[in-house]
């Protein structure tokens, strides 16, 4: 469902049926996408709106709100000089989201970082390993319930 206020943005109109919410704030367009359709939406935006670069993938932990994680994608179109932010909300005891590596190869490391630091499982990822923390590390440091000090080193 496309919010009324976003009807003038072609990118939002293009993927209107997958949008659950959205806003235009401080010059940046944010669209919330249904989790199951993120790969399809990204592919469509890349093909038809020329978002050839994936700038970053990251996440925000809204603990204790459920679903607690927002996975955030920043897309960039060089030809149209345009940027857009996509969000997917995931939660539950085993949060997971589909990988967009099939759309942009750069998502490989970005998603590994989300997996490592937030513990969000990335489905269909070609090489899902920890990237920052050591392989034997327990816990996911950027979660809000992970202590800032006092962790066993």
């Amino acid at each position: 469902m496309l919010p009324e206020s976003l009807s003038e943005y072609p990118a939002a109109v293009l993927v209107a049926d997958a949008i659950t919410a959205g806003k235009y704030d401080r010059g940046e367009l944010t669209l919330e996408i249904e989790p199951s359709r993120i790969v399809e939406v990204c592919g469509k935006l890349k093909r038809e709106m020329d978002f050839i670069r994936l700038s970053t993938v990251t996440a925000v932990d809204r603990y204790p709100i459920e679903p607690r994680f927002e996975v955030v994608y920043h897309l960039h179109s060089l030809s149209r000089n345009d940027r857009i932010r996509l969000k997917v909300r995931v939660g539950g005891p085993k949060p997971s989201v589909d990988s967009v590596t099939s759309v942009w190869r750069s998502a490989n490391w970005y998603e590994r970082e989300v997996f490592d630091l937030f513990g969000i499982h990335i489905n269909n990822h070609p090489d899902l390993r920890r990237i920052m923390m050591p392989d034997h590390w327990e816990g996911h440091p950027l979660r809000k319930d992970y202590p800032i000090t006092g962790a066993r080193v």
């Binding site: 704030d25 401080r26 940046e28 944010t30 050839i52 670069r53 994936l54 700038s55 970053t56 990251t58 925000v60 932990d61 955030v72 920043h74 060089l78 000089n81 940027r83 932010r85 942009w104 190869r105 750069s106 490989n108 490391w109 970005y110 630091l117 920890r130 990237i131 920052m132 923390m133 050591p134 440091p141 950027l142 992970y146 800032i148």
Partner: protein, 405 residues
């Protein structure tokens, strides 16, 4: 490919047997990895079958640290990310926080910011040029580059009191009033600098060994680079004229006259030429900034954000109260989120800040340009000789500080 190697090409291209393969760890202490990067290389003789970078050795949890610091304190963390482009990081963070606050910065403060960020770019490129040449075997260039870099670091010290961890650009303006006599100092440096670039070029540009080691080496197609998240001088050396300073003018870059250099050869040599030209263009911007510096305040008129003058604190009650408030509890930033990008010396640097309306950021994500650039190593390395990988990695100019965070 030189002719003598071309003769050997069929033998080199033959599928190696399993027994001939060797796995070699380059780094994390290898000098050419500039920091602590490990590249796992699978070799057939001297030919690379696959190269897989392994990062994380410098992970310091800075993004977590941001969440328990006030916005004012967060500036000091930004210095420590990309330790060769401290002011670019200060700059990007400040722009992001200012956008959240809806704060307008006086034009004179913006001009000083741009001047310092361009000096940072020159300084960072000098370290890159010196170490890159050192990797390939040119010792003397390093000494020349460090000489000029020292001058720039002294300018930074004059402004902020620190050579590297400057924290000089802050939300709301600058940390301190620009020191007396700074303009003479900067103009003296910038007058002498173009001839210094000529000096580096006389050592390298037509040097046969340099050309032999860099021309035609380290090719990667532009489509691959964009797909893998590579930005900055790497894509400009492949003919992609994209520079956030021009295409997405932040602060007051729109007011300056400069060119975005590009090449089309897309090899290590082209990247070298692009960065050399970028130094000249940055010097142009610095000159314009000093000569046309508008008069005015060095901070925004926002006492709740900018720390007050020390003198005023001794005589004015309000200044003392504001100082106390900023230092003890910080300033509240309206709820919202922004993704601010600037062109750092290495490419696109982005800060994604989420505010929940308190005086500490809810989440700060830093997208360092090196993080994207490093993903190109497996593609660039495949099929190369080991020594060419050293040259290619040097041409990528990565800093592990902003990769690992």
């Amino acid at each position: 490919m030189p002719p003598e190697i071309e003769e050997l090409a069929p033998a080199l291209a033959a599928e190696p047997t399993k027994a001939r393969r060797m796995v070699l760890n380059m780094g994390p202490q290898h000098p050419s990895t500039h920091g602590v990067l490990r590249v796992e290389i699978e070799l057939d003789g001297e030919n690379i079958i696959s190269a897989q970078p392994d990062i994380g050795y410098l992970h310091t949890g800075i993004e977590k640290e941001f969440e328990v610091k006030t916005y004012q304190q967060g500036v000091t963390l930004t210095d420590r990310l990309d330790y060769l482009a401290n002011l670019s990081n200060n700059f990007c963070y400040s722009l992001a926080v200012e956008r959240l606050l809806g704060l307008e910065i006086p034009r004179s403060a913006q001009w000083i910011r741009v001047m310092l960020v361009e000096l940072t770019r020159i300084q960072s490129h000098l370290v890159w040029l010196g170490t890159h040449a050192l990797d390939i075997g040119g010792m003397s260039v390093f000494l020349y580059c460090m000489r000029e870099r020292e001058d720039i670091l002294r300018i930074f010290e004059m402004f902020s009191g620190q050579r590297m961890m400057t924290s000089y650009i802050r939300p709301g303006g600058l940390a301190l009033e620009p020191p007396r006599g700074w303009a003479d100092r900067v103009i003296k440096f910038i007058n002498g600098f173009p001839s210094k670039i000529d000096e580096y070029e006389s050592l390298l540009t037509e040097n046969r060994i340099w050309i032999g080691r860099t021309k035609g080496v380290g090719f990667i197609s532009l489509e691959d680079m964009l797909d893998l998240g590579v930005t900055g001088p790497m894509i400009r050396a492949a003919g992609m004229k994209w520079d956030n300073r021009k295409d997405n003018p932040h602060s007051c870059y729109g007011e300056f006259d400069f060119e975005v250099p590009t090449r089309t050869e897309n090899d290590v040599y082209a990247r070298y030429l692009v960065r050399i030209e970028e130094m000249r263009q940055s010097a142009r911007i610095v000159r314009q900034a000093v000569e046309g510096m508008p008069s005015g305040s060095w901070h925004a008129d926002a006492p709740h954000v900018v720390l007050p003058d020390r003198e005023k604190m001794k005589t004015q009650m309000e200044s003392l109260i504001y100082h106390f408030k900023i230092v003890t509890e910080g300033y509240r930033v309206p709820e919202g989120e922004v993704y601010q990008v600037v062109e750092s010396p290495r490419g696109e640097l982005g800060y994604y800040i989420v505010s929940d309306g308190t005086s500490k950021p809810y989440r700060v994500h830093v997208h360092g340009p090196s993080f994207g650039n490093l993903q190109a190593i497996p593609v660039i390395g495949k099929g190369q000789m080991i020594s060419d990988l050293i040259a290619s990695m040097g041409s990528m100019d990565f800093v592990l500080g902003d990769t690992d965070r």
